[in-house]
Symmetry: C2
Subunit: 424 residues, 2 copies
């Protein structure tokens, strides 16, 4: 760790803390104005963004990075416009800050309630996806938080260009120019400083692949809001409407393969396995979804001349993010719940059932951020839940759980309204 | 770290995790029955508790620990009965687990809401105050969490006796006997294992003096709910009702000196300083409260022949926990808020004012767990707020803030009620 880096970092940290204090008094109108200006500045600088982004893409190609990597890094006119649109869309979202709830009188005469306030300073560490820079900046501004953003070094030129745009926008407002800071060093040691900076950062949000999130989480002493992976289950109960089950299971697995809320493991009650499995397996065959199955499932599907692979224990833990599904027959609801709580990643899990008590037991007992009845796991999403843009999905239990939108970036403090009351 | 300790710890951790899963299905009646039985078992074993506690007190005396220390350690019949009563009192508190809120229909047809659920496994690390063992066990059971308790080694015999009582009570219920585990080793290395056991523990709550909390917080990778200290302020605004101000400031400082919600620093608007300061200072003189003051305050009080000490910068950071107060004159509301946000500990801060906008600005801008208008800071307390027993007061911003009662020991997961909806 060089002294220069330490000095740079403590400057960034102090500026962020000061900005977070001044953001406490920012009105909704001031924050919305900043969002409008960021949108405008992005559109004014499309050519410069593309040219800076080109530099990053050239370096990435020179370093023989994969086409998928470069595709995530690349910004063209359409993507830049979508990014800018996302910022103005946030203007319409309700401002969570200042909301006062649950004011109740107490026997002493005081009234006690809660006020929603920003968290303070949010550190976001992410990979070479420049759209995250703008999304995260906009979410933090709207929720009244100062942001310190550290994007992947492969997007360095793009991010520095976006930093300038954000600065230009903020300069035109009453908000502190340090409300959003983008780390201006490629030294990876800055990440170690960020994740342990309890005095400067209130929460760290890592966005990226499992290895990035694991690395950050292992070293962080600052609280982290994160999800590592999405090993989502659908359990088809013996009392399921099987037509509905086929439709929902198909959608949960095949509508899109890559999202974290896509189903990875299908659990089937043994009493309906013989009837249900061939129906859904035929669809998977047509859509060339590879099935990794338990022994009982294989026996049933063999009878229908549907070929499968034998699952290993590792398959029950696996987030495939592709056209592969693990399938297991379970003997009852309790076995399904135990499987999910043991092998799952506490993300999104679904029961398909028409049995009242089975659905309520499943809702209560499954220890996941989102538990659903008779719906596709693909619905676990900030927009689908009505939260608007999300900064990520949390599988932690402390603070925010599930899709983290503006409200997840705030906390509630107690307020007491008195009239001269004293304790006796 | 010995292999024996590692093995012991992983057994405790696995048992706690399993117990937390089975607690997910515990009914309110089952949890209340456990509380009743703990109460009964405590009262049945008063003599044994006293005799085991005597062993700890004898060792403490042999080690020349202070009388104050031994007083906190000591259990007599009265204290044991109070402890048992605290447990049955919790039966009357509403069960937070299972509460479903905010179910709203979405355009897709799904209904989205939240369900309150236990956090899972809570690790509590505390000093040689055996009453914490019973309080913490009861709060965790009622909120549906498994608990791992690690009390100060000076209370080892008492805590092992209380552990036996808790086990006896749990054996008579449907709850897992491992719902509450008391660490049965005096090896301090177990604390290092606890604070980094992300797989076994969902949250760590340290209870004790600042040095204990600081030590735990510095090393913890498991999320910590805590407060380090209570540097609480009262700001007497220029628009204060001065009679009310005298009454509330007196109460906030002198009703009890030791609690964390006692005021430590008094801030006074310069426009009313000459009128207000002599009034309050006379009370402090009578009650022999030492005043450490800014220069302006000293000049004013000198004119009234009231002697004071000059404050140093350290005084503005200090939690005296005794009959000492720091007093400073500030030029306006902004200066008061800036002082509190800079020097305070984000615990409880109060404005005394009749000016509408000043009170609303103070409520919004002061970055503390509890912000009050015209009331004594001493009200920041679980019972006074209507939360019932508290496990502590949090000055963190993530998750629970302020007094942490049963609700603070839970989280909310999303639930989705569908009818076969799929994403398109």
């Amino acid at each position: 760790m060089t002294e220069t880096l330490q000095k740079y970092w403590s400057e960034v940290g102090q500026q962020a803390r000061a900005a977070s204090r001044s953001l406490l008094k920012a009105s909704t109108a001031e924050k919305n104005q900043a969002l409008q200006l960021i949108h405008d500045e992005i559109l004014k600088n499309v050519d410069e963004i593309i040219s800076e982004n080109q530099k990053d893409c050239d370096v990435a190609r020179g370093n023989s990075l994969t086409e998928a990597f470069i595709d995530r890094l690349l910004l063209d006119k359409g993507r830049i416009e979508t990014m800018a649109q996302g910022v103005v869309d946030m203007i319409a979202l309700p401002d969570p800050v200042g909301e006062i709830t649950d004011i109740k009188p107490r026997p002493s005469g005081i009234q006690v309630g809660k006020m929603r306030v920003p968290l303070g300073v949010i550190g976001i560490i992410y990979e070479a996806r420049p759209n995250v820079t703008i999304d995260a900046a906009a979410l933090c501004i709207k929720s009244g938080n100062a942001a310190i953003l550290r994007g992947g070094s492969d997007a360095f030129h793009t991010n520095q260009c976006l930093a300038k745009i954000l600065q230009n926008a903020l300069f035109q407002t009453n908000l502190s120019e340090h409300s959003v800071q983008i780390v201006a060093t490629q030294d990876r040691a800055v990440v170690d400083l960020m994740v342990t900076a309890k005095n400067y950062i209130d929460v760290i949000i890592p966005r990226g692949g499992k290895s990035l999130v694991e690395r950050i989480n292992a070293n962080a002493t600052v609280p982290v809001i994160k999800h590592l992976d999405g090993v989502c289950h659908t359990f088809v109960d013996e009392f399921a409407d099987l037509e509905l089950a086929v439709k929902v299971v198909d959608n949960a697995k095949t509508q899109r393969y890559a999202p974290c809320n896509t189903m990875e493991t299908l659990l089937v009650h043994e009493n309906i396995a013989k009837e249900f499995l061939p129906k859904i397996a035929e669809i998977f065959v047509v859509k060339t979804v590879e099935m990794r199955v338990c022994e009982q499932t294989q026996i049933i599907l063999n009878e229908h001349e549907i070929s499968t692979l034998m699952a290993t224990d590792a398959d029950w833990h696996e987030e495939y993010l592709g056209p592969i599904i693990a399938i297991k027959i379970v003997k009852d609801l309790d076995a399904a719940i135990a499987h999910i709580n043991h092998y799952g990643s506490h993300h999104t899990d679904v029961i398909i059932s028409e049995h009242y008590s089975n659905t309520t037991t499943f809702l209560r007992m499954v220890d996941s951020a989102c538990v659903m009845v008779n719906a596709s796991s693909r619905f676990c999403d900030g927009f689908e839940f009505g939260l608007g843009a999300e900064i990520g999905i949390s599988t932690d239990k402390i603070h925010a759980r599930g899709p983290v939108g503006l409200e997840g970036l705030t906390s509630q403090k107690y307020i007491v309204l008195g009239h001269g009351e004293i304790r006796t």
